[in-house]
Amino acid sequence: MLELAIGIILGSCALGAGVAMIAGIGPGIGEGNAVAKACEAIGRQPECKGSVTTTMLMGCAVAETTGLYALVIAILLIFVAPGRLVDILMETIK
């Protein structure tokens, strides 16, 4: 019975981490759009290349934040949550 409970904990942590990383789609699409527009802008005005590139990198980094939130959640679920949850389970059994 205990093995089953621990197995459920580990399995759902891994599933949760996988589901959380679906959020990676959003920043991917967003950054792709940003880079596409930056390429268009450089094509139109090649002399602005420097400032367009720096602005694009800034925007990409800010757009990446949501993906990184998901990453932090996934990392917590994989490395931190199973140990904590198993500890809680052991304490409730005692």
Binding site: L57, M58, V72, I75
Partner: protein, 294 residues
């Protein structure tokens, strides 16, 4: 004359040693404290020892020690570059030092305006500390920026700076700024106030940590691949790391060098934008002009 030259050379060697010795110290410490034959594993910062304090114990971790090493190395670099300055630049190092200072001032004044020109040393310090912390991973050491506590510390510092500049026109203007554009959005404004440091800390730490996690996964995968291909061969050939040569270096260039330096730049840039954006410039200068006329 001869004596002065010798003294100059001696100080130079001292500063160069100050740059190199911390890195060597970190590598030696890592070799001494790494437990034997655990294989490749993903782990957080190691805790060396804990200082007992009344409210909460203070653990001294790898990330703290490595931050200090980076700080000492940067101090050595600065002292080396600014050693023996002359009125008219004629040495390479003085040209480099002047280039760095001019660019830092230009960056700050371009992004924050003339009022904040005093911010150049702070921004340059944050930029160099963050960049060199990430680059520490090139020596195989634990990068302090992949610990959320380090980046959260910097982000809290930036949060206090933002609040200080918002308070410049007194607490009434500060309190009013939460009721914009409509008063019932005040709770959301308060949440977004606290989301700023959280997102800054997570952005920097997440980027660096994800790079190191992917590098470790790749190393494990390549080890499995080469043992699968060569594992049947006898003796030394069976353990030869065929695929681990060169391939991880390509990822390291992206994750350690490009991503680390880019994140440092973005952290400094966001600091400048947030602090400059928090300062109610119109109101402040209007009041100042009013005061000076009276």
């Amino acid at each position: 004359m001869e004596n002065d030259k010798q003294k100059f050379r001696l100080l130079d060697t001292l500063y160069i040693l100050m740059m190199i010795v911390p890195i060597v110290f970190g590598i030696v410490l890592k070799i001494l404290t790494t437990p034997q034959s655990e294989g490749i594993a993903i782990s957080g910062a190691k805790i060396f020892f804990t200082i007992n304090l009344p409210i909460q114990n203070l653990p001294i971790t790898e990330s703290q020690i490595h931050s200090w090493l980076v700080m000492i190395a940067i101090t050595g670099l600065c002292l080396f570059l600014t050693h023996g300055l002359k009125e008219k630049a004629d040495t390479k190092r003085q040209h480099i030092a002047e280039w760095i200072v001019e660019n830092a001032q230009k960056l700050v004044i371009d992004n924050m305006g003339d009022y904040f020109s005093g911010f150049a040393p702070f921004i340059a310090a944050i930029l160099s500390l963050s960049a060199f912390s990430s680059l520490l991973a090139l020596f195989g050491l634990y990068a302090p920026t992949s610990d959320v506590n380090v980046t959260a510390g910097w982000a809290i510092l930036v949060f206090f700076l933002i609040t200080y500049y918002k308070m410049k026109c007194g607490p009434v203007v500060y309190a009013k700024s939460f009721g914009e554009p409509v008063p019932f959005l005040a709770p959301l404004n308060i949440i977004s106030e606290f989301a700023t440091p959280v997102s800054m800390a997570f952005r920097h730490y997440g980027n660096v940590l994800s790079g190191s996690v992917i590098s470790v996964l790749l190393a494990v995968g390549l080890q499995g691949l080469s043992s699968m291909v060569l594992g049947k061969l006898p003796g030394f050939l069976g353990e030869f790391p065929l695929f681990q040569i060169g391939i991880p270096a390509v990822l390291s260039i992206y994750f350690d060098v490009f991503s680390g330096v880019l994140q440092a730049y973005i952290f400094a840039m966001l600091t400048m934008l947030y602090v400059a954006g928090a300062f109610p410039a119109d109101e402040y200068f209007r009041r100042k002009a009013k005061k000076s006329t009276i």
